[in-house]
């Protein structure tokens, strides 16, 4: 199955990855090959098969509703690219 340049640009935008024209051309080739590989799936008869999200048929454990964390802001913000007044800074958010 081939993938169009439009699709690549759309996917790149969804994934928030900037791509230039040359990269789009390369990705068209690479992603097309990968999709050809995964298209083998279509041959499998899965009409009576339920999807499997996890290898083990386990169920979720729930945690007691207790506060176990303390304020570690200083440690976390020490590794942040930009902070001020305890806030993470980003270019202006417009709704």
């Amino acid at each position: 199955m081939s993938i169009s340049r439009d699709d690549i640009e759309k996917v790149a935008l969804l994934a928030r990855i900037r791509v230039n024209d040359q990269q789009v051309a390369e990705l068209e080739q690479d992603l097309g090959n990968i999709l050809d590989l995964v298209d083998q799936l279509q041959a499998a008869d899965t009409s009576n098969t339920a999807p499997m999200a996890h290898p083990l048929d386990a169920v979720q454990r729930l945690r007691a509703d207790e506060v176990t964390e303390t304020n570690q802001r200083e440690a976390y913000q020490a590794i942040a690219p930009a902070t001020e007044a305890g806030l993470y800074l980003v270019p202006k958010v417009i709704d």
Binding site: L14, L62, Q72, R73, L87, Y88, V93
Partner: protein
Amino acid sequence: MQWDVVIGLEIHVQLATNSKIFSGSSTAYGAEPNTQANAVDLAMPGTLPVPNEGAFRDAVMFGLAIDAEIGRRSVFERKNYFYPDLPKGYQTTQLEQPIVGPGHVEIDLPDGSSKTIRIHHAHLEEDAGKSLHEDFHGMSGIDLNRAGTPLIEVVTEPDMRSAEEAVAFAKKLHSLVTSLGICDGDMSQGSMRFDVNISLRPKGQEAFGTRTETKNLNSFRFMEQAIAHEVERQMDILEDGGEIIQETRLYNGDRDESRSMRSKEEANDYRYFPCPDLLPVEIDDSFIDDCRSRLPELPDARKARFKEQYGLNDYDAGLLSGDARLAAFFEEVAEHGKDAKLAANWTLGEFSGRLNAEDKAINDAPISGAQLGNLIVRIADDSVSSAGAKKVFEALWSGDGDNVDAIIEAKGLKQVSDTGELEKLVDDVLAGMADQIQQYREADDKKRKKLMGGFMGPLMKASKGQGNPKLFTEILKKKLED
């Protein structure tokens, strides 16, 4: 043309758990920015979510309260989009297999009728953080304290036909979740947020028109205004032969304006898929039984009991039972005051009025149910007139005394109800009013009622305002008509 309005709601209800839905961080409101955001909430590399039992308990209690089917197996999915207040780049939510299935809520309408609103489902999810737009050198600041706070999103069927019905539903839901104790109901802090789906269709047509979604309304008043605004906007377009575009809109309550958020939506493709860091949650009978045993009395049951137990009318019972804290306050007043009707009047009148005027929550009221109850006792036994009672209430509210009898005493508000003493006062006053007595005796019934006031004034003055007006009237009538 005549148009039918069709409204469906999506309501985000913040759950009043101690900790977040997937981490042990506190959910307390109002902390310094990012002091309640731990490694999991910040989506630090390698960190993993572990779901909070309390959030499931709250959701199941809600499901039981709306008579819904409980999702015995619910699955968290990832809703993918980039936004700075969403640290993981996806929101963990439920889609195909939510914790609460279809249910229903009854609403009472002002005309005395009631209506059933169907609930499509309710699902658990995590809240996002907040973007603060104050100017940080042209940047926005991100506070992730709220990120990961548990929410249930309640989705209704498009069963409402007016803003009035939508608001009645919203208030009922508020009453329900606060009565359950699963949400603090504080709308100003965003504890409940409404998205409204609105469409119009020609009267008589069955098929729905194209709808719009107005997002993030955080008060009943804004919701009502936003609906009115959007209905008008759609009607204008349709009457001009135009078409409604399916879109998300943002309503500005201060300016009564709305605008499209289309640009944002167009590029979105949320790519939901089951979250591989979490396993299916199975809810068994014992969990449900435990939740059922925790269910408090719900508003509908409470209303019926108030009518039965206290002999209240439907309207008063409805008002008093809707808010769990108001209901509890009323019951305390009634218990101490003995007279339920008076307790209801004072709770809904003076007390609620005062709270509204001062924008105070019930828990912050400076007067207790017991105090108001004691005042009711003194009103009922004629120790204090209703005007005097208001003065006592004022004293209690402003902290000018805390004992009802002591305030009555100190302020000289005790009502004289000794008939001998009152009769003597009447005789003294009437002695100097021969003309008026003559006039009264010659008047017809209608006129007599008016003339009565001319005697009451001097009588109240003579008693320094402490004479019981009811007794004064009785004695006067006897003396004048004999």
